[in-house]
Each structure stands twice: as C-alpha cells, then as structure tokens.
C-alpha cells in the first residue's frame, strides 16, 4: 500500500516535470506552428541562470524567479531577429531553430566547461510519512506545475490575448486587417513559450543537475508529447505530456527499462497514426 503510494507519487512527479517542460514547447508549436528545436536550450538557459545565481552566492529561489523573465526577454529578442522569418516555412523553422539551439547549447557548454554541476533545492530533503519518503522538491514542482498550468489556461481562455494569438497565427494578414498588431503578438507568444521553458529549466535543475545537454534530453520526448496531445490547442500538448511523462516513468516498474524506453515511442507513433488529431483535437484553448 505504502509502496503503491510512493510509486504513484514518483510517477506523477515525473509526469509533472514533463508537463512543465512541454508547456512552453506546446504553446509555441500549437499556437505558432513552429516546432522549436531550440526549446531545449531555453530550458537549459533557465537552468543555467539558476546555477549562476547559486554560484554567485545569491539565494537560489532568486534565480528561479529571474529565469523565466530573462529567458522570456531573450525569446522576445530572438523572435524579432530570427524566428519571425520562419512562419511561412515550418520545416525551415525546424532547421533554423536547430541551428539556434546548437549555438546556445555549445556556448553554454563552453561556459560550464562541459561539466555536470549540482544545484541544491531551495526546499530540500524529503517529506516523511511513516516509512515513506517523498521528495519535498518534487512535491513542490507538482504544485507549481499545477499553478502555472492553471494560470496559462486562464490567460489564454479568459483574456483577449488568447484570441489575438490564435487569430494572428491562423491568418496573419487578416489579423492585421482586423487591427491586431501581429509582430507584437508573435513576439509575446514566443517570449511566453520561452519564459515557460526558462521556468521549467530553473525548477528541474536541482533534480537533474546542470549539464549542456539537459534540454536536448527532453526535446524529442516533448515533440512526441505535443503530437500525442494534439497540435492546435493549449490543453492538447499538456495532456500529451502528462501521458508520455507518466508512461515513461511507469513502464520501468513493470518491464525492462530499455524495452520501456523504445516502447513509449512506438506506442506514441502508432497512436498518432490512428488518431492524427491527437488526444484532444485542436480547437479553442
């Protein structure tokens, strides 16, 4: 019983981590139609910023708060300089962002010397319930993920921001002809997606330690999650990430991890084949 509880918690917490990472990716893919191969590097930057504040002796939570803003701002700038040119050509966008990711990743690798560096949790240790130990930080991540998800949902469904974003991304010239400032919307959306990635990076770095390939590690998993969930909405990728995350944490409990690893991808691709619109067909928020 206790064991099952721990198992459920662990599986859930990994699911939450994947959701957190995919949030930004999903927003950019769903709403902008860009499969951003540099998204992993935004995660990495978030992690790196957190590490920097820690290394400079500042409180870690300060880095975690700063990360989404810094990465978001960077996203805004990159959108204006680079991403903007890619909207008409999604495949070129993949390659362009790939190159961008490569640059960021290798630069960070240079900065951290290719090492694996630990960053302590702001809330460390474990919550003990009888004989069970539950990681306090993983628990915190679950809570924050839920909060962020809720806020994103509200932002996109309750404000006209979501409406503007969707209009812009669907038919930019018509959106402009409806008085929407598309450049601003593009920039804001991309920045928002980047900021979420930055936040994800900041929160997960204590769990996984900092290394240059941190973001890359989750990228393909993220894309698969987005496809499974369904492109075109906010909820879709989130649901997809939940499924992929929990599945990849749960399967190793019941089978050889090496098999589980490949199986997740095979299952996902078969699922998408027979349900191309994904778990949640892309409409609305």
């Amino acid at each position: 019983m206790a064991n099952a509880f721990v198992a459920a918690f662990e599986i859930l917490s990994f699911g939450a981590i994947i959701v957190l990472i995919v949030l930004g990716l999903g927003i950019i893919a769903s709403m902008m139609g860009i499969f951003n191969f540099a998204q992993g590097e935004f995660v990495l930057l978030g992690a790196y910023i957190t590490y920097l504040t820690y290394a400079k002796g500042l409180p870690i939570w300060a880095g975690m708060v700063a990360a989404p803003f810094v990465v978001g701002a960077l996203g805004f700038v990159l959108e204006a300089l680079i991403i903007r040119r890619f909207y008409a050509a999604p495949i070129v966008a993949m390659l362009g962002t790939y190159a961008l990711g490569l640059i960021i990743r290798e630069a960070v690798r240079g900065l951290i010397g290719g090492f694996y560096l630990t960053v302590p949790e702001p809330i460390g240790g474990s919550i003990d319930i009888g004989a069970m130990h539950i990681s306090a930080w993983r628990f915190t991540i679950i809570i924050i993920t839920l909060l962020v998800m809720g806020l994103c949902y509200l932002l996109l469904s309750r404000t006209s921001f979501g409406l503007r974003v969707r209009a812009t991304l669907e038919n930019p010239s018509l959106a402009r002809a409806s008085g929407i400032s598309t450049p601003l919307i593009y920039g804001a959306t991309f920045a928002f997606g980047a900021a979420l990635a930055g936040l994800a990076g900041a929160l997960i770095v204590p769990v996984f330690s900092l290394f240059a390939d941190l973001g890359l590690r989750f990228l393909i998993q993220g894309f698969v999650a987005v496809m499974v969930g369904g492109v075109g909405s906010f909820i879709g990728p989130v649901a997809g990430a939940g499924v992929i995350g929990t599945l990849s944490a749960a399967l190793p409990w019941v089978m050889a991890p090496v098999v589980a690893d490949v199986l997740v991808f095979v299952l996902a691709i078969v699922f998408i084949k027979f349900r191309p619109q994904g778990l949640i067909a892309g409409k609305g928020v």
Binding site: S160, L163, R164, R166, A167, E170, N171, S173, L174, A175, R176, A177, S178, G179, I180, S181, T182, G232, G282, K283, G284
Partner: protein
C-alpha cells in the same frame, strides 16, 4: 475640403510586376464608391494597397488628412479602415463566435455582435462551428459582419456578395446603403446593379489604370463602360 481618403498617383504591384499605374481617387466622408473592372484589372490589388497589405511603390495614400502610406496595416485599421478581403476572409480554424470576437476587439460595444447576428441570423445557428467549414455564403456573411464590428469609418468590401444567395444579397445591399449614409464605403463588385445602387460615385479600372470615373448614374449610362468590363 480634402477627401476622406485621398489617393494620388499610386503605383503598386507584386514583386517586380507592376499592377497599378498612377491611380488617383478620392473618397468622400460618407457615401459609397464603387470600383469596377474586369478580372485582373487590379481591384483587389488596390484594396490591398489601401489597407497596407501591399506597400505602395509610389504615390500617396492620405486618410483623414494624414499620410498613411508608410503605416502598418493594423494601424490603418485601428485608425478606422475596415476590410473584407476577397479570399481568406475568415479565420478558418476559429469558431464563428471567435471570429466575431476578433472583429470586436477594438470596440467596447458588446451589443454590436447581437446586431450583426440580427442581420445574419444564419450565423447565429453556427456560432460554435469552425469558420472554415461554413458554406461559401455563410463565410462571406461572417466576413462582412466581422468587418462591421470594428466600427470602421471607411469600409472596404472586395466582392462581398460572391457566392451569396439572392435573398441575402438584397439584405446586404440594404445594409450597405444604410451604412453609406454614415460612413464611407468602397465596394468592389461584379453585380453592377448592386454596386451602383450602393455607390454614388464609381471608378472603372482597366489594366491597372483608372479608365473611367464619374457619378454612378453617369457611369452606368456610359457606352464605354461595357468595353472595360468585357474581357
């Protein structure tokens, strides 16, 4: 008094190919103006240039006394130009409701949507359907409705009745005549009669040049007219 929309010696086109040559026209503060011409004459191009979707190569576009030829589309729209494009005139993946909501982003008036739905009751039954799956005519209604929601001071309509059922055309015509009493309306239309009922004044384009212009009745009676409209 300067015209409300004043276009002087406008050249425009796509890439290297010039479509409009030295086009000048003036649109008064109120009333309808028709732009006529055969296929490929450059009517759509003119509309796109006015709204800023295409850059003007040369010449001046002044709106409400200010030169807007360098302004972005969205700024022109916010300054009061409404536009119903000929093609791709709705947000296909968004619901009808959201399409209308986009139209009314700028205005605070929430009852406006109800007024549009009263004009096009058909849309009311389709509120949650993605606009891309609407029938051809429904789509046009939606596009017109959306443009009207922005409270424009100048409304550009590029073939608003293409694919619309006769009964509804009548309805739209009446609405436009009504509208033209308070704002300026530019209408590109193949339905000559309809266009000239809405418009007080008409321009006829031929191969990118203004070939004929004058009061609606005058143009209607001009023996040259048919020569420019026939292919």
């Amino acid at each position: 008094m300067p015209e409300f929309l004043d276009i002087k010696h406008l050249d425009a086109g796509y890439g290297r190919s010039q479509v409009l040559f030295d086009v000048s026209l003036g649109i008064p503060w109120r009333g309808g103006v028709a732009v006529l011409g055969r296929n490929g004459a450059g009517k759509t191009t003119l509309m796109k240039t006015i709204v800023g979707e295409l850059p003007a190569w040369k010449g001046e576009v002044a709106f409400d006394g200010r030169d807007i030829s360098r302004r972005a589309t969205q700024e022109r729209v916010r300054a009061g130009i409404g536009y119903v494009p000929q093609e791709h005139s709705v947000f296909a993946r968004m619901s009808v409701r959201d399409n209308l909501a986009v139209g009314s982003l700028a205005s605070k008036d929430t009852s406006a949507i109800d007024r549009v739905l009263a004009i096009f009751p058909k849309l009311g039954q389709r509120l949650d359907q993605p606009a891309g799956t609407l029938s051809g005519g429904e789509r046009k209604m939606l596009a017109i409705g959306r443009a009207m929601l922005g409270d424009p001071k100048l409304l550009l309509l590029d073939e608003p009745t293409e694919g619309v059922w006769i009964g509804v055309i009548e309805e739209i015509t009446e609405r436009l005549i009504e509208l033209a009493k308070s704002i300026a309306v530019i209408i590109v239309e193949q339905h000559l009669d309809l266009a000239l009922r809405v418009a007080d004044y008409a321009y006829v384009l031929d191969r990118g040049r203004v070939a004929l212009q004058g009061e609606a009745g005058e143009v209607r009676g001009n023996p040259e007219l048919m020569r420019y409209l026939a292919p």
